[in-house]
């Protein structure tokens, strides 16, 4: 009954990022299948911007994405945890120059 799945006719997978508005950073939208970059862009538009959700797109072959791994989350982000002096709240300023609400 099953069609011959060993015959792979699937197009490569691309991750899609879009810029929702002028000046905004790009966001991940999802993925599309496409045989090449040009069609990946067109498929991205038809899939993720039928209502102008994006004004610009990036497409990246999915196997080219390198992601941090959740298991290493602790040690990986550890260097940021013990540096409260990176935040402005760490410092005190004279009462006189504190902003009024």
């Amino acid at each position: 009954m099953t069609k011959n799945s060993s015959e792979n006719t699937e197009w490569p997978l691309w991750e899609v990022f879009y810029q929702p508005k002028d000046g905004k950073p790009f966001e991940h939208a999802g993925s599309v299948h496409a045989p090449d970059a040009e069609l990946a862009l067109q498929n991205a538009r038809d899939t993720y911007a039928r209502r102008n959700e994006g004004i610009a797109f990036w497409v990246v072959p999915s196997d080219q994405i390198v992601a941090s791994s959740p298991e290493d989350q602790g040690p990986f982000f550890d260097p940021a945890n013990d540096k409260p002096y990176r935040h402005p709240q760490f410092y005190s300023v004279p009462r006189a120059v504190k902003k009024r609400k």
């Binding site: 006719t9 699937e10 197009w11 999802g30 993925s31 299948h33 045989p35 090449d36 039928r50 959740p70």
Partner: protein, 314 residues
């Protein structure tokens, strides 16, 4: 086997309302259930284009044709969001699609009913998409990040689907006696199948408890169905449409509308493949997939040749 400590930790994350992302640890069964539900949802969106696509060439006006085209294209989009989400669980799209076309994967039974007149298009928008919104609004809070995000995207588009149907139905219900008859007839045929879209009663739904425990779903089939009925009674009344259930009565105490017995025999017979359109739908989907094969191959080959050319040139 999944270790009890890992399972405990996972359950803790779910109970804290955290979202599970593709690379996070998850129980094998959570992954399996998600693949089943998400791909079933995706297949439903795709097959859902058929009953409506049936009327594109015979839309009553250019405006209605444009609306229907846009709606059917959205359904394709919804299917693609969901396939994309399912693939994050480590399955291949081709395998998902082939499991549906040639294997055992299911899709929503509602699409195994025929669309006999244009009033059916109105009613699909109003009832079927209305029910889908109730379900998908819940799924937008699902514990699996990619599934939740796909449903958020879907919900944003679904309200257009429902409103265009409701508006058209209101017009027909306010039209000539023939139009009113058509509208009422379509509602009569779609009402019960729509109520079945929420699935069996909680007492007959073995998967529900587990899915709720894992936060894949946050409400039971019966809760969702009740929410839907309460809303639809009001909307039907507002446009002078009758719901075909003599047992519909308002319960002052609970604040809910009680409804008659759902014809479950029909539901199970459609699920098992004996609905009015099961064979037709599967035939149409297989035909599209098989006749599209050369296009998929040709595009792949074209991309390969172009890449070689570009490499030579540089």
């Amino acid at each position: 086997m999944d270790s009890p400590e890992k399972l405990e930790e996972f359950q803790q994350r779910i109970d804290n309302g955290e979202k599970i992302e593709p690379k996070d640890w998850m129980p094998e069964r959570y992954r399996k259930q998600l693949i089943r539900i998400m791909s079933q949802h995706a297949h439903s969106e795709i097959v859902g284009m058929l009953p409506e696509g049936n009327w594109i060439t015979r839309a009553p006006s250019l405006k209605r044709k444009m609306v229907l085209l846009a709606k059917v294209q959205d359904e394709a989009g919804h299917g693609l969001y969901l396939y994309s989400g399912t693939e994050t669980l480590g399955v291949k799209r081709q395998d998902l699609v082939e499991d549906y076309l040639y294997g055992n994967a299911k899709y929503s039974s509602i699409f195994n009913y025929p669309t006999l007149t244009y009033a059916d298009i109105c009613v699909i928008g109003w009832l079927v998409d209305g029910a889908a919104i109730v379900n998908q609004t819940m799924l937008a809070k699902s514990s699996y990040g990619p599934y939740s995000r796909a449903n958020v995207r879907i919900c944003k588009e679904e309200s257009f689907h429902k409103k265009q149907g409701y508006e058209m139905l209101a017009k027909m219900a306010d039209g000539t006696p023939e139009q009113q008859k058509m509208a009422q007839d379509a509602v009569n045929r779609w009402w019960w199948p729509t109520l079945m879209m929420f699935g069996p009663h909680d007492t007959d739904s073995p998967n529900s408890a587990e899915l709720i425990k894992w936060g894949v779903k946050t409400k039971t089939n019966d809760e969702l169905r009740q929410h839907f009925v309460d809303r639809m009674v009001m909307e039907a009344e507002a446009i002078g449409i009758e719901l075909p259930d003599p047992d519909l009565t308002y319960n002052e105490e609970t604040g809910h509308w009680e409804f008659g017995d759902i014809p479950w025999d029909e539901f199970w017979s459609v699920v098992k493949g004996d609905g009015p359109m099961n064979r037709e739908r599967m035939k149409a989907r297989r035909k599209a997939y098989e006749e599209g094969e050369w296009v998929r191959e040709a595009a792949k080959e074209y991309a390969r040749k172009k890449r070689l050319q570009d490499e030579k040139a540089s």
